[in-house]
């Protein structure tokens, strides 16, 4: 039976249809069949392992730090997801105008949108957890059915938090900035546990010991992380314990109700006005008297850097990737400058950042027709764009190499050679194998960028391997060189058609097929 048009369920089904189409694209049956098969095997695995695993799981509940910690790890990832969904649902998607101008009540619109956020984010946890509930029911452990309300409450709670954070950011920063801030926030939340686990490694020995001692006291029964702590109630709720389950459901559902009730009224007066409202002003006195610069190289470099620095989305996505490398680099430096294993990490970071910037400057050009209709040869423009991508990375790499040179000349030279090679190769691959994209697609450029993504990966692996083999096993260096050469050759020969297609009649002569 079809839901009646205009009802909340009808709108909810509409939202679900949109979400599903966004995920599955044209591969509906492939995803459905593969997902179904995987889920079947997960059920089978749970069924087989439950008799032996159940006592162990029960035992872990006596000291629930592991299970509870695991829950909060997934909850933080879930929150990161709901935050992204909330930013999309409330700021990016443009259908709220249509919905809010319809006779549907605003409360229904926001309730459904919130539910859609919760469901979208909960799908993966449900996919992972529910086989255990079903296997538990068949094996005589019906308490695992509590995973159903646990997953639902977690989804609702995280959706509530996502909506509340998004709306707060909108109020504080305005809709445009909130969009980027929300995405950065989501990335930071998603990486929170990773950074938390790195903290002890970065501390000095006395500080680490002090942290250990404090944690020990907090792990006692009445401590913050003790077995009876409400922090671990979600883990207990998963085993069907009544009070924790009730509390988790109350917090999740109550938080969701509160978030929807509080935000839908403010949306029209806050977010909508912010979205429809004024223009974004340039920072730093953009209205001041103009000072025009001379020279193509200068103005083109300036334009590329301005666009990167002002695009918080691009900046955050690039820097977030680097952020994951920071703990490893710090640990490496703590263990002395002769420690060569951090060189490959830095090489990877340099190549990745240069690749991102080159993709933005070369492939995500916003006004290609302007450049193509200008009297400047495209090849010259491309080289300047490559420089715009490489120079900032070089500016980061060079001081590091200079600092390192007196302490470990060989390591510094390796860093400079492999890091410089990695970033140059990444930029060349973007030029030789172009594929036009939008700046917002940076995050998915490796997946959506066609063969260039794989080629760049191969080149980066080649340079990382070269940095690894330089420290020992030098007989393997030719293999690393081959990987880089293969990648560059693939970009050059494989990209001939793409170059002609991308740059059309303006394709630089040496690059034309």
């Amino acid at each position: 039976m079809k839901p009646s048009p205009g009802s909340w369920f009808w709108l909810f089904m509409h939202e679900m249809r949109l979400s599903w189409r966004g995920v599955s694209g044209s591969h509906f049956w492939t995803i459905a069949i593969l997902g179904g098969l995987l889920w079947f095997f997960m059920h089978w695995g749970a069924w087989v392992s439950l008799p032996a695993g159940y006592p162990m799981l029960r035992g872990m509940l006596a000291a629930p730090v592991f299970l509870g910690g695991l829950y909060w790890l997934f909850a933080s990832l879930l929150l990161s997801q709901t935050l992204v969904h909330a930013v999309n649902a409330l700021i990016v998607r443009e259908d709220l105008d249509l919905l809010l101008s319809s006779p549907l009540s605003q409360r229904t619109v926001f309730l459904v949108r919130g539910l859609a956020i919760a469901v979208s984010a909960s799908l993966l946890p449900a996919f992972a957890a529910l086989p255990l509930a079903h296997a538990g029911l068949l094996r005589g452990h019906p308490e695992f059915l509590a995973l159903y309300p646990l997953v639902a409450a977690s989804g609702l709670g995280c959706a509530a938090a996502g909506i509340a954070i998004t709306m707060t950011l909108v109020r504080l920063l305005g809709a445009r900035r909130a969009r980027t801030a929300g995405q950065v926030f989501a990335a930071v939340v998603g990486a929170l546990f990773f950074f938390a686990f790195q903290i002890p490694n970065m501390l000095s020995v006395p500080s680490r010991e002090a942290l250990k001692a404090w944690l020990k006291t907090q792990l006692l029964d009445n401590g913050l992380f003790g077995a009876a702590s409400p922090l671990w109630w979600p883990a207990r709720a998963g085993f069907g314990e009544a009070l924790p389950l009730l509390a988790v459901v109350a917090v999740g559902a109550g938080g969701f109700w509160l978030a929807v009730s509080l935000t839908y009224r403010r949306f029209v007066t806050g977010t909508q006005e912010s979205l429809a409202g004024g223009r974004s002003s340039a920072a730093g006195g953009g209205a001041a008297a103009p000072v025009f610069r001379a020279g193509l190289t200068r103005v083109l470099l300036l334009k590329e850097w301005r666009l990167v620095l002002r695009d918080m989305q691009v900046l955050s996505q690039s820097l977030m990737q680097l952020l994951y490398l920071v703990p490893m680099v710090l640990i490496g430096f703590k263990s002395g400058p002769k420690n060569l294993y951090i060189v490959p990490v830095i090489v990877a970071g340099a190549a990745m950042l240069a690749g991102n910037l080159a993709w933005i400057t070369v492939n995500a050009e916003e006004a290609p027709e302007l450049l193509a209709s200008s009297p400047v040869p495209v090849s010259r423009i491309l080289w300047i764009k490559a420089a715009a991508a490489v120079l900032p990375v070089l500016a980061l790499l060079l001081p590091l190499a200079l600092w390192w040179a007196p302490r470990g000349p060989f390591e510094a030279a390796t860093l400079l050679l492999c890091g410089g090679g990695g970033m140059l190769s990444a930029a060349l691959i973007q030029i030789w194998s172009p594929r036009a994209g939008k700046r917002g697609d940076l995050k998915n450029r490796m997946k959506a960028g066609g063969p260039a993504g794989m080629i760049e990966l191969l080149s980066t692996i080649g340079w990382i391997a070269a940095a690894v083999f330089a420290g020992g096993r030098r007989e393997w260096l030719p293999a690393a060189a081959c990987a880089v050469a293969l990648a560059l050759a693939a970009a050059w020969f494989g990209g001939r058609r793409a170059r002609a297609d991308t740059w059309g009649s303006a394709a630089p002569e040496p690059l034309r097929a």
Partner: protein, 256 residues
């Protein structure tokens, strides 16, 4: 209008046998067109007639399959740099940089055409003033309306004072006031001896501004001349003032 300018120089645009196909579809089919310097020329035709493809080939954005085009004697294939140096192309939906201010955008465009900074600054101020964008000079373009973007793109096209302007639907999205200021600007620009070639679906603009009109159909020019010449060619006579351009256009582009 400076007629001496027209007669004394090579054609602003000379197109011969220009051909372009996309797969099996021939978008432009051996098109010939000569536009003297200092002329305001309108290129009219129904949707899909080949107007935009023709303009994009002239601007160097598409490579012709056959034929030649020359801007002030500079072949667009062999002398692309020289041809582009004196040309500006404004596409129907110009893409601008959302995170640049109008002044930064104009600085960049001036850099592409190697306009000296002092002259570029002065010209940028004049153009933004004229197009009523000076008050928005400190704002990012991403917040601009369609009309404001169109005006800024036009300013970008004019900052290097091109001798030939190729405009694809330049008045799309402009309000009446903005459209008037753009039309005035283009007329003044042609009066200085420069050349404008534009496509438009607003026939009133072509009727009022263009000295000569080319009607393109199926990738070929099917009629060319002043409005009076086109009227006499079709023999259409409607109303006391004779046929309007709309009558002429509809008759010439009527499906066979």
């Amino acid at each position: 209008m400076t007629n001496s300018h027209k007669s004394g120089e090579s054609a602003a645009l000379a197109v011969s046998g220009l051909t372009k196909s996309f797969g099996a579809k021939r978008a432009v089919d051996g098109l010939d067109l000569v536009i003297p310097a200092g002329e305001f020329h309108a290129l009219l035709g129904p949707n899909g007639a080949g107007k935009t493809t023709t303009l994009r080939m002239i601007a160097g954005l598409l490579r012709p399959d056959a034929g030649t085009a020359a801007v002030f004697g500079h072949d667009i294939a062999r002398g692309a740099t020289a041809a582009k140096s004196v040309t500006a192309f404004l596409p129907d939906d110009p893409l601008l940089y959302g995170k640049l201010t109008p002044l930064e955008y104009l600085e960049f465009v001036a850099g592409l055409w190697a306009v000296p900074p002092d002259a570029a600054e002065r010209r940028a101020r004049e153009l933004l003033d004229w197009l009523e964008l000076w008050g928005n000079r400190g704002e990012y373009v991403e917040g601009f309306s369609r009309g404001m973007r169109q005006k800024l793109a036009l300013a970008g096209a004019m900052i290097h004072e091109p001798r030939l302007m190729i405009l694809d639907e330049p008045l799309t999205g402009l309000d009446a006031r903005a459209a008037r200021s753009v039309k005035d600007m283009l007329v003044a620009y042609v009066k200085k001896g420069n050349t404008v070639v534009l496509t438009t679906h607003i026939l009133e603009i072509a009727e009022r501004l263009a000295e000569r009109i080319s009607i393109i159909l199926g990738g070929r020019i099917v009629a060319q001349g002043s409005l009076d010449e086109l009227r006499s060619r079709t023999g259409a006579a409607v109303g006391p003032a004779g046929a309007t351009l709309e009558d002429v256009f509809l008759e010439l582009t009527e499906p066979a």
